[in-house]
C-alpha cells in the first residue's frame, strides 16, 4: 500500500511517502491507523490525537470505518489550512 504523509505528520514520521505491506487483519482506515501507531514513536506522536487526523483513500476524504486494501493510495494529514489569511484565528 502506498502511504503519504503531509505537513507535521510528514515531519514527525520522518518521511513523506512509503510502501507498506498491509497485515492480513487490517482492513479499515481505523485499523490501519492503530497499526501505524505501533510502528514507532514518530508514528505514535503524529497520530496521537485522532481529532486532527484526516484520511484520504485514493484521493477521496474517508472515515475510520472505510475499507482499505493493499492496492490503495492512503494519505494521512492534519486538517487543511489553504486559501488565505495565514495565521489568523489560531
Amino acid at each position: 500500500m502506498k502511504m503519504l504523509y503531509f505537513a507535521w505528520f510528514r515531519q514527525r514520521i520522518g518521511q513523506g511517502e512509503e510502501d507498506i505491506d498491509l497485515p492480513a487483519d487490517v482492513s479499515t482506515v481505523g485499523e490501519l491507523i492503530t497499526w501505524l501507531q505501533g510502528r514507532g514513536p514518530g508514528y505514535a506522536a503524529a497520530l496521537d490525537d485522532l481529532s486532527v487526523v484526516r484520511v484520504a483513500v485514493n484521493q477521496e476524504f474517508s472515515s475510520l470505518s472505510d475499507p482499505v486494501a493493499n492496492s490503495d493510495e492512503v494519505a494521512l494529514f492534519p486538517p487543511v489550512t489553504g486559501g488565505t489569511e495565514p495565521g489568523t484565528g489560531r
Partner: protein
C-alpha cells in the same frame, strides 16, 4: 478552469480570459488572497504551502463543479499557488462569470469558502523567531468551517470535525 502552480499569475489576463470574445456575460466576481505579514502577534518572513499533488486538482475540480451546479455560471476559475511565498504575494484567485451579478458574487464567495476547507493545502509559517521545525504549522480555524458550513455542505463531508 483549475490551475495549481508555484508561479505567480497575471490577474488582469486571467479575468480577461473569462470574458474575451463573449457578449453574454453580465458580471465577473473575483477574490484574490494574499500573504499577510502579521499572523496574530507574530511577524512572518515567509510561508510555505505544502499540498497533495493530484488530490489538490481533483478537490478544486469538485469545488468548481459544485459551484457550476448551484449557480448558472458562464465560466469559473480557481488558481492556487504552492511553495514558499513572501508577505504581499498572491496565494489564490477565484472568479465566477455569469449573466447575473448575484450569481457571480455568490459563487465567488462559495468558491473561496469551500476551497479553504476542501483543498489539501497546509501552511508552514516562518517568523523571525527560532522555529524548531523551520517554521510553525498553521492550525485549522473553526471560522473557516463555519464559512463553508453556511453553504450547507453535504452531510457526507469527511473533512469537517473528526
Amino acid at each position: 478552469m483549475i490551475k495549481v502552480q508555484h508561479e505567480d499569475f497575471d490577474t488582469g489576463q486571467e479575468l480577461a480570459a473569462l470574458t474575451d470574445g463573449r457578449t453574454d456575460i453580465g458580471g465577473v466576481a473575483s477574490f484574490i488572497g494574499l500573504v499577510r505579514e502579521m499572523a496574530d502577534d507574530r511577524q512572518l518572513s515567509a510561508m510555505t504551502l505544502e499540498h497533495y499533488p493530484g488530490m489538490t486538482e481533483k478537490m478544486l475540480g469538485e469545488v468548481e463543479a459544485e459551484a457550476r451546479k448551484r449557480w448558472p455560471l458562464d465560466d469559473c476559475l480557481i488558481i492556487h499557488r504552492y511553495g514558499r511565498l513572501e508577505p504581499g504575494e498572491r496565494i489564490v484567485m477565484v472568479a465566477a462569470a455569469s449573466a447575473h451579478r448575484k450569481a457571480a458574487l455568490e459563487a465567488c464567495a462559495f468558491l473561496i469558502d469551500w476551497l479553504k476547507t476542501k483543498a489539501p493545502f497546509w501552511k508552514l509559517e516562518e517568523s523571525g523567531d527560532d522555529d524548531p521545525e523551520g517554521g510553525q504549522w498553521v492550525r485549522s480555524k473553526s471560522s473557516d468551517d463555519d464559512a463553508a458550513a453556511r453553504w450547507s455542505a453535504d452531510p457526507d463531508d469527511k473533512n469537517q470535525g473528526s
